[in-house]
């Protein structure tokens, strides 16, 4: 699994801990993101940075700024492995 897919998985996992299955439903609506949660499989296609930003925005639209902080914390270990120019802007 590539690092962006890992980041998406971590974010969805953490959101699921807070809001339950709604987190997965919301993730499925993000274009470029394919979620098969039963198999715990997430794939990110196209502009991967932008897809992650969209995922974060999806939660932000519903639950506000605090959900962005949750996403940042969930992805922090993985984000730190990416060079600055490859990091999704919403998680910087």
């Amino acid at each position: 699994m590539d690092v962006y897919a890992q980041i998406a998985t971590k974010i969805i996992e953490q959101q699921q801990n807070i809001i339950g299955p709604v987190a997965i439903e919301q993730a499925k609506t993000v274009s470029g993101l394919k979620v098969d949660w039963d198999k715990h499989q997430v794939t990110v296609s196209g502009n991967q940075q932008s897809v992650i930003d969209k995922l974060v925005d999806q939660y932000k639209e519903l639950f506000g700024k605090i959900s962005v902080e949750v996403c940042k914390e969930a992805a922090s270990k993985l984000i730190s492995q990416l060079p600055a120019d490859k990091q999704p802007s919403s998680l910087k």
Partner: protein, 494 residues
């Protein structure tokens, strides 16, 4: 009017939507807090289970704890420093980093990193301490952690750590270690939540490390005790072997000495004068005592090796006691003591180990002679009391102090007043006497001051030693009874 309603409709709807969004966000916030609390509790529970279930070393335990912390938290790297048994500095015991690193970073190299126990922060009252490694020189960080530049480079480049937060691990008011937590490059200072979480985790880890350190210290002491015990056992065995060998070697010449003195006493070498007889009787009595002493030493050795056996046979205890007491008459009168034996009439035969019970009687009477000052009285009494027989040796001697009575029948024990009166005793006589009595199903009689003793004077407390046996237990089987003791019917059968 209608116009106003049309204008109010969308505004109210907007208001409702805003309210709903606000409620959703508040609920999300609460849920996020609950999720964080759950995560912390789950992590604490995991640490507890690791500690409870782990039987491994401190290093392995620290490796397991740090792995759980990295897996279940946002920390990039966690390390535990502690002071293993008999180490001066805080060694790196275990550490774990993010998924991209190889698993199981138990610190198998003791010098991988360590903290100076006399570091200023460790001595101070501040619980936490942070260092930023991203812009610090490798040398500066390496100097603090006492780690190689490679180790620091790994933290920075592979673990992507900027801030390393150190937190003291305390237990029972003592510093037991330090936990180091690596935060990623985008975190520069810890917020209150993170600080609180770290403090809670450090409490759990502190207790875990302290418990394991105590356990390891106990194990260390236990091993040392086992080693010391083994050494003592070896020494004890060597001593027993020596005693056994020396006793065997002494017994042969002593038997011949005793035999020749006996022959002279019986007139085999011609007539002897009264003075000569008296002196030879003393020599015979002393050699007899030495025979008993050697027998005690051998019996102690046999007890250890499991070769101590009771060989019972029909014994006339009344006659056995008489024989022993008559041998002691000379030494008693030499000390100006009155030695009396109250011999019962028609005393029954008992199944006893004659040699050993003879030694017991000799020991009690001999002690009475030694520990009774001149002019004193010793009374030896054998009697039947209901279903049991009782033999007592009472005197009006120095007695046994209260604080010494508890140890009196222990191996090699001698009361202080006994040592003073007779410095050369072995402390084996009473020990062996009790063994012999108990091995034959009897019980020891002991009291001091002597109950019903020969003296009522508090200055002469005296003591009573003796034994009691159940007649039923020591009953002589019919087929072993001598002719005079068996019934007519039994005789006709034999």
């Amino acid at each position: 009017m209608a116009n106003t309603l049309i204008r109010r409709g969308p505004s109210k709807r907007k208001q409702l939507e805003d309210n709903l969004a606000h409620i959703s966000q508040e609920m999300y916030k609460r849920n996020a807090e609950l999720a964080a609390t759950n995560n912390t509790l789950s992590l604490l529970r995991t640490i507890d289970s690791i500690v409870l279930e782990s039987h491994d070393s401190l290093e392995v335990l620290c490796g397991q704890i740090t792995k759980a912390m990295v897996d279940k938290s946002a920390y990039n790297w966690v390390a535990i420093f502690g002071r293993p048994v008999h180490h001066e500095r805080l060694e790196l015991l275990g550490w774990n980093g993010t998924d991209t690193l190889p698993a199981n970073h138990v610190a198998d190299t003791p010098s991988l990193a360590y903290l100076n126990a006399n570091d200023r922060w460790l001595d101070g009252s501040e619980r936490t301490h942070g260092i930023h490694i991203l812009h610090a020189s490798d040398r500066a960080v390496a100097d603090y952690l006492h780690a190689s530049p490679d180790f620091i480079a790994n933290l920075r480049d592979q673990q992507h750590i900027n801030l390393i937060q150190f937190i003291k691990l305390m237990a029972r008011g003592n510093l037991v270690g330090v936990m180091a937590v690596g935060f990623p490059v985008n975190i520069h200072e810890l917020d209150t939540d993170n600080k609180e979480l770290l403090e809670r985790l450090s409490e759990a880890v502190g207790v875990a490390v302290d418990n394991r350190l105590l356990f390891e210290e106990n194990q260390h002491v236990l091993k040392q005790l086992q080693k010391t015990n083994q050494k003592l056992r070896d020494l004890d065995q060597a001593k027993d072997e020596f005693i056994s060998m020396a006793s065997h070697q002494l017994r042969t010449p002593l038997t011949s000495m005793k035999g020749y003195v006996s022959m002279v006493l019986e007139g085999d070498s011609g007539k002897i004068t009264k003075t000569q007889k008296n002196l030879l009787e003393q020599a015979f009595g002393s050699s007899q005592r030495m025979v008993y002493l050697i027998a005690d030493l051998l019996n102690v050795s046999r007890l250890r090796t499991g070769k101590f056996v009771i060989e019972s046979k029909p014994t006339n205890l009344a006659d056995v006691i008489e024989g022993e007491i008559s041998q002691l008459m000379t030494s008693a009168s030499a000390k100006k003591l009155t030695l009396t034996y109250v011999k019962p009439k028609n005393f029954p035969l008992l199944m006893l180990d004659e040699t050993k019970i003879r030694q017991v009687v000799m020991n009690f009477a001999d002690n009475a002679i030694y520990y009774t000052p001149a002019g004193g009285t010793i009374v030896v009494k054998l009697s039947e009391k209901g279903g049991s027989v009782e033999c007592t040796v009472s005197d009006d001697g120095i007695g046994v102090p209260k604080d010494a009575q508890h140890h009196l029948f222990s191996k090699f024990y001698r009361a202080d007043n006994a040592k003073e009166a007779r410095p050369d005793g072995t402390g084996l006589g009473l020990f062996m006497a009790k063994k012999v009595i108990v091995a034959q199903g009897g019980a020891v009689i002991f009291n001091s001051p002597a109950i019903d003793g020969p003296s009522k004077d508090p200055a002469k407390p005296g003591s009573t030693f003796g034994f009691t046996f159940s007649k039923t237990k020591l009953k002589v089987p019919a087929h072993l009874k001598p002719a005079g003791q068996a019934g007519a019917k039994e005789l006709s059968i034999s």
